[in-house]
Each structure stands twice: as C-alpha cells, then as structure tokens.
Symmetry: C2
Subunit: 379 residues, 2 copies
C-alpha cells in the first residue's frame, strides 16, 4: 500500500474514527486504526467492544489530494500514528507499507518508520441490511440525545438502564432514559411510513459519542437497525453501536398525570438559583435542597444547608403558582441537569406530594418533552 | 463589619489573593481569606507557608462602589466564599458579620449565612522595611521568570535548586536556575544606583505565582528585599515570598567559553522537529534524541527511536554550521523547554563534545541569555 494525501483532510477523518478507540481495550489490535486503500479511496476504521466508526476518503474528490500508488491495508497504533500525523511539517503526507508491516510516513524532511499489524487480523464489522429507510435531522437527533442522556444510569448493576430506550411506532419516535431516580422522555413526530416499528435500547455512551461525531455541516443521518446492532450513516462516516439486550422497564406509568401544586419558572433563572443553593448542599452528606411553595402568599423559596459551612435562602421569581402549599426536597444535581436540557425556555413544574415524583415540561409544549425527578425524604 | 461593594471588582481582588491559598495547608485558618475593612478601604489577604498576597480595594475609588457601614474584620473559607460571590445574582453584594463570626452575604433575593473565623487568629505578614528603591518593568520581570524557571529543580532533595538565584550587582540583575542537568541564565541591565547589592534565592514556585498575579495593565513592580522575605508591590497588590536559605552553587564556571562545533537554527523550526522526534523517544526507557552534525557535508540530522514503536529521522534546516563533526544525544524535553524560552528568534548552539554541556544563545545577543543542557551518554 502506498498513497499520499492532504494532511488536514486525513487528520479530520482520523479524529472521527479515533473516538471509537480505547486504550483500555483487552483486544490489542483494537488499539490500532485500520487503514484500507482501494481504488475508490481510503477507509479508516476504529473500534472498541461497543462502537465502531468508519470514515471514507474518496479518491475522486480533488480536495482530498489522494494519490494512490498501490492498494492494500495496515493497522497502525492509533495513539502514535495520529500524534505523528498531527506534527508532520508539510501540508501533504506520504504513507507506504514496507516488509513485515513496517510503515513509512514521510512529510517534507521528516521520515517516520513505525511498526504496523496485519489488517487481516482486525475484527470484521457487522453487516447491517435493512430495507426500511429511516432518516433523521442531525440537529433533532443531537437534541434528543442531549435531552435524554442525562437520565441514563451509570451503574452497571442494572445494565439495561445504561441505555436509551428508543421506540418508533406510528410515525412517532420516543426516547426514554431513567436511572430510577429521574426520568427523561422525548417524543418526535417523523414523516415516515407508519408501519415501520422498532423497539431498541442503545447504550447511552454510544449515543454521546455519536453526537460528538456528527458535524454541524451534515444535515441528516440515516439510521439502520438490525438484531443487535444499529448503524448511523452521516456523510462519509458510518457509526456502529451494539444494542443492549433485555426488556426496558415500562416507564409510561411512572409519569404522573395529575398534580396538586403547579408553578412556572424561567429555566435559566431557576438553574442559577439551584446552582447557588447546591454550593452548600454539596458539602452536606445528603446533598439536598428544599423548595417551599406557598400559593396563598404567592411565594417560592429555596433553601440549601450545610452544618459545617452555613446556609442559603433565596426567594424565587415564579409565575402561575397554584394549588396546595408544599415543602419538597430533592437532589440539586438532578434538577440542574434537567433544567439545562430546557435551554432558555419557560417551564411548568407539577408536584403531587413531598414524596411523589414531580415533572418539568416546557410551558409551550407539554406533550413532547418531560423530565421527572423523584424527591428525597428528609423527615 | 458591614459593607456593600461592586461584585466584579471584588471578584477580581478575590481571585488575586486566592492564588496564595492552598487547601493542603496544615494551618486551618490559612484555608480562609482574611478581610479587613478600615475607613480607607478593604484589604483582602491570602497566604500559605511560602507566599502571601494582599490586595487593597480603596474606599475613595468610585468604580469600586465600596459603601462602608462599619469597619471590622473576618476570615472566611476561601473555597466557599469565592464560589458564593461568583454565583450571586446581582452586580452589587452586601457583607455583614453578625454574632459568633456568622457572616451574611446578600445579593438581590439570595441570602447566604456562612461560618467565619476570628481574624485576630490569622498570622501576621512580615514587615519589610528597606530604603533601596528597586523598580522593574512588569514585562521584563515576567520574561526573566519565564526564561529561567524552566531550569528550576522540582526535587526536594536539594532544596536550594528549587529556587531562582537573583544577584543584583553594579546595576546588573542576573537570574540563574539549574537542576544540575540544565541551566538557564538571564541578565538585565538596570538603570539603578550601582551601589545597591542583593544576592537572594527565591522559590521558583513563588515566582511562577507572582507572574500569574501580575496583570498586563500594570507597568512596573517595586521589589523590596529583607533578610528572609521578598515583597513585590504591583498596583493594589502586594506579593510576599519567603527566601530560600543557604548558598546557591557557583554556576558561572559551568558555562563553557569555547566550542568545537557551532550551528544556528530558527528556534520554532528546531522545536517542531524535536517535538516530532520526542514522540517516539518518550516511549523508550531512556528518552533521548540524537543530533548528528556534519559540517563537511553541511547537514544536521535528528534521530528518535523506540524499539516498540519505530523510529524517526529528519534532516534539519540549519545555518552557519562549522567546526568538527559530532553526534550528541540529549533529553528532548529539556531541549523543548529551552527552545520555547527563545520564542521566534534565531539561536546559536555551541557544542564541545558528546559528553560536555552545550549552550543555546540568541544569535543577535549572546551576552544576556544562555540556556545550557547536559547531554546523555548513550554508549
């Protein structure tokens, strides 16, 4: 194999596939990047046990400046190879595989020779065939991931909860995540064949990496789902993730449909107050803040407390406060994550009692997005 | 004590004194910030065993919006207090010390009460009286620190080498640091009374912190030296450091005065090549790169090697190569530090033999700045 290529194009693709590569893998060859050169172009692959990323550099796109001497393949240490490529002195680089998988990398006066591995020993990626076309807007998918991934569990004790449950039915895509203390649910209406039905659980970590891989200059992503794998195709990049096996718990009945106390806040204003209150609650062993809602006097106050450091109290600017008066305590970190997922919008919070979960929804659209938080018993 | 103040002004001064505060201190009260309010204004103090920083907020400067209710003093946990102040909701904040050193911090609707400590238990700063006026340009002092601190030792086995040796004599200020593998020496001519003489060793860490404290909007710093302390006064900030006790080794005789091989490089070009070569040398247990200089063929080549990963070789663009041919190996990290200290200039390197220290000086001024590096024996 021998080729020369525009170095910045190569670095961009290298960065994409490198997201999949972990130095902690137990399969040594997966610490490498697989490089396969055909007459059509250069395919880079990175993988770990959970995700695999392929990125293709076409021989026919002039800006890639891909000049093919001979086709072939090699696996090179991801860590060194990418460090080397990033530090080469000139705009173009030349790569040539010599005897015994020794690989020569040249750019201007700099000449590296590094040890490679036989690409035939690299594991094959799954083949995913499907006839159903599922195309999503990149921005919609990224928002859906950001809004639900906060509630994904990072405890391996219930592995199923480390995933996001995605259900496509009747043209509606629903994403749910819960770590059993909080839950996030997002629905999107898609212009799709209503007969397509999917019910899968994708690891939260995979979707976070997918989000990072998706460039803003690409508009849509194609999703292909097979029995135990999902493939996202965006431009020249293919992103594979394994699916989680098992049944996701039934979550719809967890979301309360009635409430006894209701209030509205500006999400960023409430977030700033929660951040202040949590400065002290973080020092306390139970890390809770308390909200006191008093509809008859039309006031809401937040309290944070740490016996060692001190306490904080703040009257909050709220709107449309109604129902029963209530004192409720919760983990401020869950509240901060939830509030950040709403951005700059106005939100509606509905409480039932001091020990029952409460919900946050956007005031303007209470049907497509809900965050649920379970309070903490303090008495 | 009670006052209100412009919050961004207060944060700026808080940040300055906080540099001196370490959570690792063995003296509990030093984890706090001392706040002393007099009719003249507000003095903030932070300290650890080595350095102390005072910052003064004048009552007469309108932009501080300092409104004094009653004078007094308190010590507040640096970590919490500054986090709280930074997250307060409004532009102004109010601070009031109540009974038992409980301190109330208010801004808009937010109201914190935190536990304070009696300021009378805070250690006193040293008093430094001197009649000698020593004024330095902030930019010159910062450059001098940056150029020499790289050679300071971080080994506590020879504590004296953790300092920078400063000698003021005949109107010339000389700064030297060495960790016994390398040495950096910088000289500055000052427009001073030539009878002022100082010979002190300041901890390298203190000078790094001083550099960070010195804002670019202040032009000069006044230096006051006493028996075991040095004080730097810049604008409203006073920076105290202890001095290291003992005799600094005689370093002038370490710098060779003759050479047998000479060459010139652009510092940033050589730096980039060393960074490439060190990618592989870092993986080798002895971490060296080799330079081969061949004046008869007018070429210089750098080599890096790691048995596990591979090797690199690069022909370097040099000028005025002369003298004997030479192969010499050295730690590339020392070379990188040295080259960075020269910025974008052309440098002259003078070698004596493969086992004797070599020197780097700016081509245009070989008298005021020298970096010395001891090579590594590889045979």
């Amino acid at each position: 194999m021998q080729f020369s290529i525009n170095r910045s194009v190569f670095i961009k693709h290298l960065n994409d596939v490198q997201r999949a590569i972990s130095s902690k893998t137990t399969i040594p060859i997966l610490t490498g990047i697989k490089i396969v050169l055909t007459d059509a172009g250069l395919m880079l692959t990175g993988s770990n046990a959970d995700i695999s990323i392929e990125s293709f550099i076409s021989a026919t796109d002039d800006k890639n400046e891909l000049d093919i001497g001979s086709t072939g393949s090699i696996v090179l240490s991801a860590r060194f190879f990418s460090e080397i490529v990033k530090r080469l002195p000139e705009d173009t680089m030349n790569l040539e595989v010599k005897d015994n998988f020794q690989t020569e990398i040249k750019s201007g006066p700099a000449e590296f020779t590094i040890n490679g591995l036989d690409a035939n020993n690299y594991p094959n990626l799954p083949e995913i065939d499907t006839e159903d076309q599922l195309i999503l807007d990149v921005s919609v998918l990224k928002q859906l991931i950001a809004q639900t991934v906060i509630a994904v569990s990072n405890q391996e004790s219930r592995p199923i909860l480390t995933g996001i449950h995605l259900v496509l039915d009747q043209g509606e895509l629903m994403a749910v995540a819960t770590d059993s203390h909080r839950l996030s649910q997002r629905k999107i209406n898609l212009d799709l064949n209503p007969n397509i039905h999917y019910d899968v659980i994708i690891p939260g970590k995979s979707l976070v990496e997918l989000s990072r891989t998706l460039d803003d200059d690409i508009d849509t992503v194609e999703v292909r789902i097979a029995e135990n794998q999902v493939l996202f195709i965006a431009g020249a990049t293919s992103f594979y993730s394994r699916l989680l096996e098992g049944n996701y718990p039934e979550t719809s009945r967890l979301i309360p449909t009635s409430s006894t106390t209701q209030v509205e806040f500006s999400a960023p204003v409430l977030l700033a107050a929660i951040e202040r209150a949590s400065l002290l609650s973080h020092e306390s062993h139970n890390n809770v803040v308390k909200l006191a809602l008093n509809p008859t006097e039309n006031n809401v106050t937040i309290y944070g407390n740490s016996p060692d450091v001190g306490n904080v109290e703040e009257a909050l600017a709220s709107e449309n406060l109604s129902g029963d008066s209530l004192e409720i305590s919760f983990n401020p970190d869950y509240m901060k994550d939830a509030l950040r997922s709403f951005g700059q919008t106005q939100i509606h919070i509905a409480f039932t009692s001091a020990l029952r979960p409460f919900t946050l929804v956007p005031t303007e659209d209470n049907d497509h997005f809900v965050q649920l938080i379970t309070p903490v018993r303090t008495f």
